[in-house]
């Protein structure tokens, strides 16, 4: 247990911070720790959480994905057309929505790998294209999502918020097994040192393509879940999610230089960010001062993460 905490120090710190914040939140909330409060909280957290997962896959291979929000907007508008009607139709629709996200991610990956352009620039440009497509589908917000399905996904199962169940599924059924596969290890190898990965026989191009495709899949899932929460399609939801997803992965201990961090950390970072925002709402701080406090807390949290530098024994250690 102690060994686990030592080797996953970043995730453990993030998780501890999250638990403290959540306790304060539930303690100060006028309605206390009811299922209702938890459900609303978990839904908001999971949207950003899935976006942070998407960002994680780009960041872990030393890239960045500025199109996360745009893919969410596009998949959200697609969902607003396909998620109504017969059960079979809805099931196909959900597959199509996530598939669209995967295609967007694959496109990013193909341009990054074969065009040899930096991911930050590629995704900046493709984000513009994806938002354009979303606007073609929904020039103004509208459309509908099957209410029964939306309720099933955003309420609770036996008192436990469905969003938390989904989070658990992502971690236990997807991430923990996935991390041990060749591809999962390949992601870390590529992020740590592309040259070493290449020389140990890893197909770096394939791994990078897979990483960006996975980023697209999770952005698609984020868009899908966003549709369940809002039950409409809106092409304008992107910008906030992209930048927040980057802040979330960093808070969760994922290093932007690649190779370090985990999906659990990314999720924890996103949950922390959203919990701070919800905490503000009931904190009694004047509403006009809340954005400032949110900014200060974000900056403080990130600065504490950077305090490691002050402990460096040799000044050269800080240049990595």
């Amino acid at each position: 247990m102690l060994d686990y905490a030592k080797s996953n120090r970043r995730e453990v710190i993030a998780a501890a911070v999250l638990i403290v914040l959540l306790t304060i939140y539930l303690g100060t909330h006028p309605r206390g720790a009811s299922t209702y409060v938890m459900t609303i909280w978990a839904n908001q957290c999971l949207i950003l959480g899935l976006a942070a997962c998407a960002q994680f896959f780009a960041v872990v291979v030393r890239g960045i994905d500025l199109s996360v929000g745009a893919v969410m907007a596009l998949t959200n508008t697609i969902a607003s057309y396909l998620l109504d009607g017969s059960p079979a139709g809805i099931a196909m629709g959900m597959v199509a929505v996530v598939g669209a996200g995967a295609l967007c991610g694959l496109l990013n990956g193909v341009i990054v790998v074969f065009g040899r352009i930096q991911p930050i620039v590629v995704t900046l440009a493709t984000a513009s294209v994806f938002v354009g497509l979303a606007l073609l589908l929904r020039p103004t917000p509208g459309g509908a999502v099957n209410y029964d399905l939306a309720d099933a996904m955003t309420l609770d199962v036996l008192g436990i918020p469905t969003a938390l169940v989904i989070t658990a599924v992502v971690v236990f059924a997807f991430w923990l097994p996935f991390r041990r596969t060749g591809l999962g290890l390949g992601l870390y190898a590529l992020g740590s040192s592309e040259q070493a990965a290449f020389q140990s026989g890893i197909d770096t191009r394939l791994v990078r393509l897979a990483a960006f495709t996975l980023a697209g899949v999770f952005a698609g899932l984020a868009g899908l879940f966003y549709s369940f929460v809002t039950t409409t399609g809106d092409a304008g939801i992107g910008p906030g999610f992209t930048l927040n997803s980057i802040a979330a992965v960093v808070l969760g201990g994922v290093l932007l230089r690649g190779g370090v961090g985990s999906l659990v950390g990314a999720l924890a970072g996103a949950f922390i960010l959203k919990t701070i925002a919800s905490l503000m709402f009931f904190s009694g701080i004047p509403s006009l001062a809340q954005p400032l406090f949110e900014g200060l807390i974000l900056a403080g949290a990130i600065a504490i993460g950077g305090a490691d530098v002050l402990r460096a024994r040799n000044k050269l250690e800080v240049f990595k």
Binding site: V129, L135, V250, P291, L316
Partner: protein, 319 residues
């Protein structure tokens, strides 16, 4: 390895956006002959200066191997500060509007630089956090409404005046770029900036005081953003909430199209001028053609991708 070509102000990469500008004008004039009129083109120069000044600051930071995401609210903060000072009606404070806004930009730039250079926080996250703190300050200060205040005649002249038929804003932009190009090419600071962009560790080991160079670069970028904000406020005759948000991504696009490597070390301001002109003209022609928002976004993205692909493919063929 720093070859002589990399410190030259004009390279083939930096000429690409200019070819793009010419192609855009020729292609656009087939559909709308009025694009060739002097009025239309000088108006483009005037508008391009706003994006251009922001991109000038961004180029300095990107040459360093970093990125500045605080541009939107440094811009908005400078605009709010300057219009508020003028709005007091006190002639003394009105005269201070522009210098105060520039000092504000430099201060925020310094905060950006300290976080990046001393605390070693990735610039992409730290400047983002600074941006959200500035947003919070602005909301607290203005109560979430559009801030009251007005622009001084000086600010209006900077944004909309002209001299011998050339817009003032364009002249200011070119003057700032020329000055900074001189700094980049001729002074030790310029060399340090590039060498940090190539390899920070090596620069440090060669005795460069890397933190001070990083802080100075971010301060220059903050002042450029603030100047852009002051001039935008002069152009609109007011400051308004989130006036800077639409500028962030086009700014980065302008720098990259201008041939500056996003990894740092390679590039320059000459290309950025072309990049800003290209993006302004592209946006303008797409809106003159009355293309809907959706297609405008798509075409914008595709053209930027095409230009980037062209640049890397050309390099691939040369090797």
């Amino acid at each position: 390895m720093i070859t002589r070509t990399s410190t030259r102000a004009v390279t083939f990469d930096s000429l690409v956006p200019y070819f793009g500008v010419i192609a855009l004008i020729i292609a656009g004039s087939f559909f709308f002959p009025q694009i060739l009129s002097v009025d239309y083109l000088t108006q483009q120069l005037q508008i391009a200066a706003f994006l251009g000044l922001l991109a000038t600051g961004a180029t300095i930071v990107i040459l360093l191997g970093h990125i500045d995401l605080s541009v939107p609210w440094v811009l908005t903060g400078a605009a709010i500060l300057s219009t508020a000072l003028v709005g007091t009606g006190n002639p003394m404070l009105s005269a201070l509007a522009v210098p105060a806004a520039l000092a504000f930009g430099a201060l925020i730039g310094l905060i950006n630089g300290l976080g990046v250079a001393v605390l070693r926080i990735p610039s992409m996250v730290w400047t983002l956090a600074v941006n959200s703190m500035l947003l919070g300050l602005a909301v607290l200060n203005t109560g979430g409404f559009n801030p009251r205040g007005e622009s001084s005649p000086l600010m209006v002249a900077m944004a909309s005046g002209d001299f011998l038929g050339l817009p003032f804003s364009f002249l200011i932009w070119i003057a700032v770029c020329s000055g900074l190009t001189w700094v980049l090419v001729r002074t030790p600071f310029g060399r340090y900036l590039r060498s940090i962009g190539f390899n920070e560790k090596a620069a440090f080991l060669s005795g460069v005081s890397t933190p001070s160079v990083v802080c100075a670069a971010f301060a220059i970028a903050g002042m450029c953003s603030a100047l852009g904000g002051v001039m935008l406020a002069g152009y609109a005759n007011q400051a308004y909430q989130s006036m800077g948000d639409p500028f962030l991504l086009p700014t980065i696009a302008a720098v990259v199209i201008g041939g500056t490597s996003i990894l740092g070390g390679r590039g320059g301001l000459f290309g950025t001028i072309g990049g800003a002109l290209f993006i302004t003209l592209l946006t303008s022609i797409l809106s003159v053609m009355q293309i809907g928002d959706a297609w405008r976004n798509i075409i914008f993205g595709v053209i930027i991708l095409a230009m980037l692909l062209f640049q890397t493919l050309r390099k691939g063929a040369a090797q």
